[in-house]
């Protein structure tokens, strides 16, 4: 259902297909993956399209193999991605850690489903920690983008490759089963042959007179060398915090309650803000578009002006911790958590807003 053209053009397209096409637009020519619902349309799309444009689609035998193929391809200098959903991403944790330790760029997409365990295939946000605190063992972290529409899935995925290159780090696009399967109008970024950024570290055939041999490695027996790697990575995260932290705000300029939500939850909260008068409370939604780096500063700023913050997430209290770390006691933080595929309706959130307002003594209808 995608249409490729020279100019941006709106198509009515599913989140999965927009993600796949976003990858292609971002310059991805190598895809290694293993099927899992609710994101099967991505590998299917890639298997259809990549070979046509000289790219490589390879179905790995497992997620463990997939991440290690991605590792190999990234080591070889390719723009490479894989996509999966919760259990599959869990299986990739060791490999992610290797990629972070070896400072290789790549793009991962997680269309989160209900968990733990086999769970179900409905929308959930319960891999928030897996994305922001995960990446296996060690101190490495995934730069994590949280699109909330099919358009953003497309754009963020395309843009993720640049970010991955800039910080020589994994970028994780964190969405969910609804965003994956829903259809919306989307302006597609035209495909073009992107010049690969210089990758002086990459392995492959070379001329010894032009460069020394390259080694991709995450083994550092010497404590100081290992620590230096961690400090270098940390420094990149600090820089990313300054350069790419991204969020959107929506609602009253003089809010009484701040809503915090990302992804599909943020869309519910948008509806709530649009119906704020029903509760008689002035609301402002802060919607992170990156959760690592986290928009600590704007949340902290508003926290000092509002009477309370309400966090809405489709998990039992993961995202709320980052909000709490940002708010740091400046105002009470309450949580509306649903899980297992259940989502609060805007009505449910409004109800909770009224409750919060009561707790903190804001007059609400």
């Amino acid at each position: 259902m995608s249409e490729t053209a020279d100019t941006r053009k709106s198509v009515f397209i599913s989140g999965n297909e927009a993600t796949a096409e976003g990858g292609i637009a971002g310059g991805c020519r190598h895809f290694f993956g293993y099927p899992i619902t609710p994101q099967n349309e991505i590998p299917e799309y890639m298997s259809e399209h990549l070979p046509e444009i000289g790219g490589v689609y390879l179905q790995a035998e497992s997620e463990v193999a997939a991440i290690n193929m991605v590792y190999g391809a990234a080591a070889a200098g390719a723009r490479v991605m894989t996509t999966s959903s919760s259990p599959g991403i869990a299986l990739m944790q060791e490999g992610l850690s290797y990629m972070l330790g070896s400072e290789l760029p790549a793009v991962f997409v997680n269309m989160v489903r209900g968990g733990p365990g086999l769970g179900n295939i409905a929308a959930a946000q319960s891999d928030y920690w897996l994305a922001t605190r995960g990446a296996g063992h060690g101190d490495g972290r995934c730069i994590t983008l949280t699109p909330y529409s099919v358009q953003e899935l497309h754009d963020f995925t395309a843009g993720a490759f640049e970010i991955a290159d800039r910080y020589q780090n994994i970028v994780m696009v964190l969405a969910d089963a609804i965003l994956a399967t829903m259809m919306e109008p989307c302006e597609l970024i035209p495909r073009r042959d992107l010049p690969l950024p210089d990758r002086p570290y990459a392995v492959g055939p070379h001329d010894r007179s032009e460069r020394e041999r390259n080694i991709i490695n995450s083994l550092w027996i010497d404590f100081d060398v290992m620590e230096a790697v961690n400090l270098r990575i940390e420094e990149r995260y600090t820089r990313a915090g300054e350069e790419i932290t991204d969020w959107e705000e929506f609602g009253s300029d003089d809010p009484q309650i701040m809503l915090c939500a990302y992804g599909i939850s943020a869309r519910i909260c948008e509806s709530v803000v649009m119906r704020a008068d029903e509760a008689g409370v002035r609301l402002r939604l802060i919607r992170p578009r990156t959760v690592f780096p986290f928009p600590t500063e704007p949340i902290r700023r508003w926290a000092e002006r509002v009477d309370a913050t309400l966090v809405v997430e489709l998990s039992m209290g993961q995202f709320v911790e980052d909000v709490r770390l940002a708010v740091e006691g400046s105002c009470p933080v309450e949580l509306l958590a649903r899980s297992g595929g259940n989502m609060p309706t805007p009505g449910d959130v409004l109800q909770k807003v009224r409750e919060v307002a009561r707790h903190v003594g804001v007059a609400a209808k």
Partner: protein, 181 residues
């Protein structure tokens, strides 16, 4: 303006596809739209539902608590979902299969004998078309022609032979809506 259309039926009735046509038609008509499916785990059979939002503001939440209109295609769907309709909403039911009309206070009811219409036309695949034709004429958010146009755009060339049948079904549905008014 914000129309929240909920559609439900059983696998094979083309619920999702019909919803996508409406979504696309809405987009072409300059509206902000979204289409959200909820699948059941079985590959075949089982219930199939989707929600389409059509609005001139932000779509924001793409799901709906109390849809402003519903298209229900089989008895189970009618039993399970009809009560969720918003007060004064439009309820389109496939009266060929749904014998017991769901009791919903204060709604605009359109009974479309969609299977019979499809049988008349001689094309089993047009069941969903009659129903969304009725929905279009019933809500006036889109016209049956809008939907037909999106159909033409979205269907692969090789399926275009069915277009006349589809258009007839859409039109028959729309007629029923106009008659009911």
């Amino acid at each position: 303006m914000r129309e929240e259309l909920f559609m439900a039926g059983i696998g094979g009735q083309g619920v999702n596809l019909a919803g996508q046509f409406i979504g696309r038609a809405g987009m072409d008509a300059g509206l902000n739209v979204s289409w959200v499916p909820i699948y059941s785990p079985e590959v075949r059979g089982g219930s199939s539902t989707c929600t389409i939002v059509l609005t001139d503001r932000r779509v924001a939440s793409p799901t709906s608590e109390h849809p402003t209109s519903m298209v229900l295609m089989d008895p189970t769907a009618a039993r399970r979902f009809a009560a969720n309709l918003t007060t004064g909403g439009l309820l389109v039911i496939n009266s060929s299969l749904i014998e017991e009309t769901p009791k919903v206070d204060d709604c605009r009811l359109l009974k479309v004998p969609a299977n019979d219409i499809a049988a008349e036309i001689g094309n089993d695949r047009t069941v969903n078309m009659a129903l969304i034709g009725a929905w279009a004429a019933g809500t006036e958010v889109l016209t049956a022609e809008d939907v037909a146009r999106s159909l033409r755009e979205m269907l692969p060339e090789r399926h275009h032979v069915h277009m006349p049948d589809n258009e007839r079904a859409l039109e028959r549905g729309a007629e029923i809506a106009r008659e009911t008014r």
